[in-house]
Symmetry: C2
Subunit: 424 residues, 2 copies
């Protein structure tokens, strides 16, 4: 993409009411636009990153046999009354409205109830189990407080998966498989090293639930971490967990963290509440076992910005960057240099490299500052000097490392390898 | 995908309150689930079709330089008050709710106002124009009536594009380019032959607006069509248009139709209302020119079902079908036949052919009936007999044509050609 054509420009300032680092940077670099507190539009650059994150999550969910679908945002009151989750006393984040034809309607802040209700249409017997479906859904939550930028919005994108099983063993086995898939996802997102499977408060069915928490100063949770044993405990269950897991409190490090995923074992609770059964092999009508698995897609993006940004701007891991290469053309008033840079842009693009090409008529300093702010992993600079020398300056955004490569070396370096994994 | 693993099965009956043919078929075949009147979940098969439609629209929007983004669903009251479109008297399809922090919030039924408001952040001078952005957005509309299945929902997916221009000439030129792109899209969706650029009631700025209407008995509009001259007029402007275009009323054919797209020239009206200007070359502050361009994505799906379905079920054009080939394995109790069919499934899939493989342990009649209902373009039948003869029965869903092909001929026939266009 030519930057002169890109819709959005960098901005000097974020809105004065924006207090979070992630939103400030994302707004200044042109990734998102603030619609109101906790509500952000995804501009072209931001949508590209979101689609990269979704792509990684989708691959891993498909790998564990999940099937993608899309539930509605509009919610039936009757359905949520069955599980006593309609009233504002039990769920305090509902947005609700009146239907023109009469009656109340809700807006999806979660989808467990409609998913279960829908799935029972297709799950009649043990032969139809297990079943696992997921969606990328815009959730709407009437949060009282929205000060964490895109890490905690009133409107945000979540991947939620639901699996139904005939037996507890089958659920447990699948639950473990998804847990591993989640670790792969966070590794691929560049968050692997700082993301912990965390013991948190459980439901009626299990002592602890599992959260995926990423150590992050901007997070709203507090963890106690044993880095050596790779164990983390949410503050809310610290005493219980320490006893249960045989830990010493004073060996644990207290850190702030952001919950970017959770998995939850409902056992047969939800099915019992909603009257959802299947015919077992023996012919009895048994309640199905349910587990749910969430990942905050927009939150993951916010966490990535918070964790890796430096004083100059955003730093994207290669796996989710909007482009791999930021091609910065200097001396663009010199026709020969411009033609040469145009040619390199064409070559790289044709080779399948994702390139943002700064072809703007702007000062060098402005181009470099914008490039740092936008945070694309590799900056390739073409100037009269580099053209004459037949080598390009390649700067790695993350480390600041500078290399001088020939065109051939450049192409070899950036050619998409076809592997899915991010090797950062 | 193996059909035994597919989440959803065909159903004998649609819900008794479902009166539209498109939703009845889509529910029975397992493409959608009815959440409430006018609100449907997209199940895995349905989501696949929607993504195919979106893919075609995305390609053509990118081709005319549109840049994809995603606006929020939540809407600020103040913004819509500027254009006098907040009150229920002027817009009767709003869903509204109360924010927990106080104040009203709306849910997006359209996005002209927030798009304009956002775009003014990035459009300061004539150098920033033209600009063209689009989104695939879930629109929420509090419709009083919802009896047309997914053709007119309370929740539906729409592609909406917006272009800003410095001059009327530039707008007109782009408007014409998008009009042509729309015709390409509807052709690729298989709807080209019956879709007319239709004269409809215009805004303040133009005498007529342009709708894209597809002749369809289930449609809610009435057109007067001159097939020879390739002209169509919406009933609402018949008298005016007949006079203006020099037509004779008795030469026009009256047909029912569905509006699947529209393009609208706002001129400078919206900018004037919202106070959005740009600095011209001469330094004056001028209001920008705006046009908007919509396509009903879920509606297009509904229209395709309505138009092509026959008494046996859905008939998909190849370009939007969830799979290209429905591989139906018979005699699956015979290990040799089953192994052979499994192998063919693997080969086709590895060659990049999208295959739904009916590997279920079911009666032949049931398999064929389900296959007809689901409507995949080509059915390939493998049985003991076809295996022995080394030829497969290939049935074209649309025409019923039966061919007997060798494996080599089969592969040649279905190998993806890499062309984008649907050659129906």
């Amino acid at each position: 993409m030519r930057q002169s054509q890109l819709f959005t420009k960098t901005r000097k300032e974020a809105p004065s009411d924006e207090v979070s680092k992630n939103a400030q940077l994302l707004i200044r670099a042109g990734y998102v636009h603030k619609e109101m507190a906790g509500v952000y539009d995804l501009l072209p650059l931001g949508l590209r990153v979101i689609e990269k994150i979704k792509g990684i999550v989708r691959e891993e969910m498909n790998r564990v046999g999940g099937q993608e679908l899309l539930m509605s945002s509009l919610q039936r009151k009757e359905l949520w009354e069955q599980t006593d989750r309609w009233s504002d006393e039990t769920v305090d984040v509902w947005f609700k409205s009146e239907l023109a034809v009469g009656g109340e309607v809700g807006f999806g802040w979660s989808h467990e109830e409609p998913i279960m209700d829908m799935m029972q249409q297709y799950v009649a017997s043990y032969k139809d189990l297990p079943a696992s479906v997921y969606q990328f859904q815009t959730k709407l939550r009437n949060e009282l407080r929205a000060k964490s930028g895109i890490m905690r919005g009133r409107e945000f994108i979540m991947k939620d998966m639901y699996s139904l099983h005939a037996t507890e063993e089958d659920l447990n086995e699948y639950y473990e498989k998804v847990k591993q898939a989640y670790l792969v996802i966070f590794k691929r997102l560049g968050l692997g090293a700082d993301t912990y499977v965390t013991f948190a408060s459980g439901g009626a069915f299990t002592k602890f639930s599992h959260e995926f928490q990423t150590v992050c100063d901007a997070g709203e949770d507090v963890l106690y971490v044993h880095r050596g044993k790779n164990i983390a405990v949410n503050e809310e269950v610290l005493d219980e967990a320490v006893k249960e897991l045989g830990l010493e409190k004073d060996q644990l490090e207290k850190v702030k963290s952001a919950e970017i995923g959770n998995i939850f074992n409902f056992g047969t609770d939800k099915a019992a509440q909603m009257g959802i059964t299947f015919a077992s092999k023996e012919g009895s009508k048994d309640p199905v076992f349910l587990a749910s698995y969430g990942i905050g897609i927009t939150r993951a993006l916010g966490v990535i910005v918070e964790k890796f940004a430096d004083e100059k701007g955003i730093v994207w891991p290669e796996s989710v960057a909007p482009f791999t290469v930021h091609l910065v053309g200097l001396n663009s008033d010199d026709d020969a240099v411009r033609d040469y840079t145009d040619g390199l842009y064409t070559t790289l693009t044709e080779e399948g490299v994702e390139v943002l090409y700064d072809d703007r008529d702007a000062r060098t300093g402005e181009k470099f500052a914008d490039s740092d702010l936008i945070g694309i992993p590799y900056r390739v600079v073409v100037s009269k000097k580099t053209q004459e020398e037949g080598r390009f300056e390649v700067v790695t955004r993350k480390t600041g490392e500078v290399r001088f490569l020939t065109e051939e070396e450049l192409l070899n370096d950036f050619m998409p390898t076809g592997t899915e994994e991010d090797n950062d």
